[in-house]
Symmetry: C2
DNA sequence: CTTATATTTTAGTACATACTAACTTTTTGG
DNA sequence: CCAAAAAGTTAGTATGTACTAAAATATAAG
């Protein structure tokens, strides 16, 4: 493994990561979607994709989109591993706010050596999820790829555990944090306006309202024990405290 | 100050740092010297220097060399601050070997935000020197610019305290570490072969021999209380004009 | 002072990465 | 099924950073 690849630049790595995040099963990542995610003109993306294809890191179907090859996927996963370990480290060892760490990690992930990453992982006790609940790929490139449901998809009465949320928008994260919504939090949908209106839910004991744009970026693990029935009020008792991942706070 | 400079790339920053390290008082940094230090062809350096001059970061005298402007110096000092804090952090908090951190720091220094640097500095207790004894500039850009004497310049009988050493060559650092030579160590010159021959000295209680190429990269603070015993006197000498050592790889 | 050598710059080129404008292909909605 | 919209590509250009080869200038040696 890890043949002496002609050292990609940071930008090229970013493309691979973006493709990884945008391709969904069979559907390849669209050029425009990539362009928007990367903040780059679509034409420029086309060019770079050709280069990456030449390097054997992506497969491009003309006019249809791109997907990663196995080597490309390996590069993307390593980059994601670096990103998430750095985020975890910055939050737990250097006191960064969890809503503020994404940008810093985006810069460092291209500069950090494998040795640095493994040392950070070690002092953190080899965490399996970052502060936003995102799973951390292993050094060998294995990752938990479970897909969770968006909060926006839950129906009133449903209970769930917050699994993860997007880390890309500090404002969103502060908004969520202000409402107690963080990985591991237990929630219950109380009401839902039609036509993408706000969602009313209980977080812990507090009742909160959540804008749909925010709800779309929070993913949950449905919790059968709560969602079974929708009794409007009910004594909270003996919920098992289950915190799978070693994330902070 | 700190006007919104058009975000330098990492390479440009490296040039400024190299100029800072190569200019000596009035003498500007030579293009060839820069090229060698940066591992880049001299012609390329000429080109970059013109760009840096356009940006107001260096002053170039055609065919004579370059020196930093005040803004250029400020950029260089911030980069050096980042480098040295990162080195200190990696060694003390992440268990890196002190002879192995230079390369890692070279990469990270361009990616680390001011906030990260200040947080690292804080957990380290705002150190004033890095693991190799190099002074760390303050966030405001002040730095201890004392020049020390090279070990190679000491005469037999002279005693001294090791102040600092080059961090650029891991092999050199391991060589020195193997002989107990590190910042703070007390030494005493016992004998010195003529014509740049090896130097015999006492480090702590141990007697060691030091190759001249290594000695040239170790700087000391002469210790009058020990050197008093020496028969040979030296009257304020040695400007470190000599660049005999071709270090690295 | 004059020439040989060392140093530095210019000229011409290449590559990675970005852009805008114009064109091509695919998808969609009537 | 076809025209308009959406998506994607090509063409031509710019910038930063590198290179080699050749020319210009400075310095050192006689």
């Amino acid at each position: 493994m890890t043949k002496p690849r002609p050292e990609l630049t940071g930008q090229a790595e970013d493309y691979l990561k973006a493709i990884y995040e945008l391709e969904r099963g069979d559907a390849p990542a669209g050029t425009n979607a990539l362009a928007e995610r990367l903040g780059i003109a679509a034409a420029s993306v086309s060019g770079m994709l050709q280069r990456l294809a030449r390097l054997g890191l992506v497969k491009t179907e003309r006019y249809r989109g791109s997907r990663l090859t196995e080597p490309g996927r390996a590069v993307a996963l390593q980059l994601i591993r670096r990103h998430r370990i750095i985020e975890s480290y910055l939050v737990t060892r250097l006191g960064f706010a969890w809503d503020d760490v994404h940008h810093e990690a985006e810069q460092l992930e291209h500069a950090a050596s494998p040795e640095l990453i493994e040392r950070m992982a070690k002092v953190l006790g080899n965490p399996t999820a970052d502060p936003h609940g995102a799973p951390i790929p292993t050094a060998e490139g294995r990752v938990d790829e479970r897909r969770f449901e968006s909060i926006a998809a839950l129906e009133p009465g449903a209970g769930a555990r917050v699994a993860r949320m997007s880390d890309r928008d500090p404002k969103l994260l502060r908004y969520l944090a202000g409402r107690g919504i963080r990985p591991g939090a237990r929630i219950r949908i109380e009401a839902k306006e039609p036509f993408d209106g706000p969602i009313v839910l209980t977080v812990g004991r507090e009742r909160q309202t959540l804008a749909p744009g925010a709800a779309a970026n929070v993913w949950v693990e449905p919790d059968a024990s709560v969602s079974a029935a929708a009794p409007k009020s009910r004594a909270r008792g003996g919920t098992p405290k289950r915190r799978a991942s070693g994330n902070s706070r």
